[in-house]
Subunit: 201 residues, 2 copies
DNA sequence: CGCGTTAGTGGACAGCGGTCCGCTTGTTAA
DNA sequence: TTAACAAGCGGACCGCTGTCCACTAACGCG
């Protein structure tokens, strides 16, 4: 929660928690830092930490959420300013902006993915509002493609699901570290597999 | 491990563990059953359980691994018997057989995905041999497509990664439960997004 | 300033995944 | 049959996520 009406002392503690968490994440890597470590380092009790954040995923979101929302706004702003640009360019730019966010935040986003909600949400790959927002943008753009292209039998929702599946944080990390692709390469491959076929006739 | 040289008493206990685990999974759902519950129900200690299986993922694999391997063999057998069939048919049949395995085993496969290896393997979406095997089949078939089609600039590895990303067990469950697609619909959508564009010219 | 109310605290607790070591039991050779 | 060896055992242990309640401290009002 970026906005909470907390008592002054509680707000101070929340700030200390965030600072210490960010420092620990930077030092050890987000996946190696436990909520206990964060509580200890911040000098607060377990209960206090969990009063601020339901789980590690929420804490992580508090660290990068603003940046992700800004990026989403950037996408929407771009799309709003370029309504007459070719749909292909708009789709590619939206995805490019999202990939930039992934490049910056993928370890923390992976921690959010792995540490949010209960059992039920663990089984929902696109649970987060943020991902749903990006997914929606893609669906809308694909719907536009579908309307403009008569012979193209396009499935916007499933296609967006497929794009979002390969853009999951852990998959992105895999592509970067295991496959050794650069961000530019991933971008080109993504466009090549998903976008270009839509415009080849 | 499907083959272990165990003492008779240990082998008996391993069988009991498997039987009780299968019963608990059937009753409560695999994601809701802990290793402690399994040990209790089987009447063995923690250490004994973990001597048989390093983690829940391994135990789950022991339950369905044979079936998955048989399915893989079925794919290879089909491909071996149909080398002169159109590549599109072979690709589609291989994926269809894999989808059938997913339909049967997705909750347990999702548990394997979520509960295997250490931190490092958690960040590798295609860690399991089984998934690597299917991935390889797809890459090989896509390589054939690439060779036979001159004007098609195909990226077999990334394309296979994308296919495997949408075929992850948790994503499959999401498509079935959240999107409400039938297995037939998922199959059609998968072919539509990934296969048909390869053969449209 | 004092008091009442309630937001906030921390650490004990439960249950989890996983480890490990003193003890037990199965197996084999003499 | 017996003894030696080592595979195998179980439960105490560690650290984790997350919960909860008796206690504390902040805040606002008179």
């Amino acid at each position: 929660m970026l906005e909470k009406n907390l008592r002054k002392d509680a707000e101070k503690r929340r700030q200390v928690i965030l600072e210490k968490a960010a420092a620990l994440f930077a030092e050890y890597g987000v996946e190696h830092v436990s909520m206990r470590q964060i509580a200890r380092e911040a000098g607060v009790g377990q209960g206090t930490l969990y009063r601020s954040y339901n789980n590690k995923g929420e804490l992580c979101w508090d660290l990068i959420g603003e940046s992700c929302i800004q990026n989403y706004d950037r996408i929407q702003s771009f799309l709003g300013d370029h309504t007459s640009s070719p749909i292909k360019d708009r789709l590619e730019t939206a995805l490019l902006y999202h990939l930039e966010s992934l490049e910056t935040h993928s370890p923390v986003l992976a921690a959010i993915q792995a540490n949010s909600g209960g059992d039920e949400q663990q089984n929902v790959p696109f649970y987060s509002e943020h991902y749903e927002s990006i997914h929606s943008v893609i669906v809308q753009l694909l719907n536009e493609v579908a309307k403009k292209t008569e012979n193209l039998d396009l499935d916007p929702v499933f296609t967006a699901d497929a794009i979002m599946a390969i853009l999951r944080p852990d998959v992105y990390i895999f592509q970067r570290q295991h496959r050794g692709y650069s961000p530019e390469e991933i971008k080109n491959k993504l466009f090549h597999v998903f976008i270009e076929p839509l415009f080849h006739k």
